[in-house]
Amino acid sequence: MSHLSYAAATVPVRGDFAAAHNRFWKRLAAPGAWWSGAERVSIAAEVRQARSCALCQTRKNALTPAAVQGEHDHLGVLPEAAVDVIHRVVTDQNRLSRQWFDSIMAAGLSAEQYVEMIGTVVAMVSIDSFCRGIDVPLNPLPKPQPGEPSHYRPPGAAPEQAWVPMILAERATGAEADLYGGKPTGNVIRAMSLVPDEVRTLQDLSAVHYLPSGQVRNPTASAGTLSRMQMELIAGRVSALQQCFY
């Protein structure tokens, strides 16, 4: 497998960025819990395709996305519902609704497939955005690895108020005992716990891009050269621009 590197960037890039991104790239290529390696890499490719989708652009400018019908400009590999999930999450995520989610489930995707897909999409969005931010080309997608998905569903996952089942902190036991570090954690971390490796990837990337999860609730914690106030200003601005309620 090719090794992802930022050595050619015009600014020095901390080695832990490439290391974390390489870990995700390796995981991206391998079979997951609910998608094969080939399907996971196809999801990643579709993330990039979504940026140039004419339907997504039209919907983005419409009063409501439901007002615009049509077909996404897609790569023709994944099921239609999966394509819609990817494109909507990439280009218009703040107008996703429970009704839309239910339509995706009715179209045949499982909640487990959905969560793994979301985990892949958001990691790709983040890593590609990082590349764009430091002005380096997007990393070539990895070659898919053979094998079958594990179909592992954590026994502690159960329906709550979110659209997808999640694991409560007190039910994160056994194979999931490492997920939250034995501490209370935010819903945004638990959101991906139906596919535990998505939580692990989330925490791995966040620890490098932002802060290790165990330090987030400590207002004095910071990392790198920025103060915590500077970090939170960026975080708040990015979240506000995307109208994130959370």
Binding site: V125, Q161, V164, V208, L226, G236, V238, F245
Partner: protein
């Protein structure tokens, strides 16, 4: 955070540069991003630029997780932020509206 001028006046060091970089990263204008990147490089230095890009790209991920999974606010966060959420008009965000309609605990 909604009003750039107000946020820049927050007293955070180099807040204007950080906001411009965040705006450019969320936007799709490559020229604006190049300008914001250059300003951040001059002001924060190369390590600061990379750190700032890292944080911005992290939250491009986190907002999508929150919006795509329909999670409610944590009780602790809900209780701590009611006043500031009202003041910053966060209740008007589309995802929050849907949550209210669904009687979930998003304000």
């Amino acid at each position: 955070m909604i009003d750039a001028d107000a946020a820049a006046a927050s007293g955070v060091a180099h807040g204007d540069v950080l906001l411009a970089l965040a705006d450019a990263m969320v936007g799709r204008d490559d020229t604006a991003l190049a300008q914001a990147r250059d300003a951040a490089l001059q002001t924060l230095g190369p390590e600061g630029l990379v750190d700032a890009v890292g944080v911005a790209s992290n939250f491009e991920r986190m907002v999508r997780i929150a919006d795509a999974t329909g999670i409610p606010l944590d009780d602790r966060l809900f209780n701590l932020t009611q006043d500031v959420r009202h003041e910053l008009l966060l209740d008007s965000f589309a995802a929050a509206k849907e949550a209210v309609e669904n009687d979930l605990r998003k304000p």
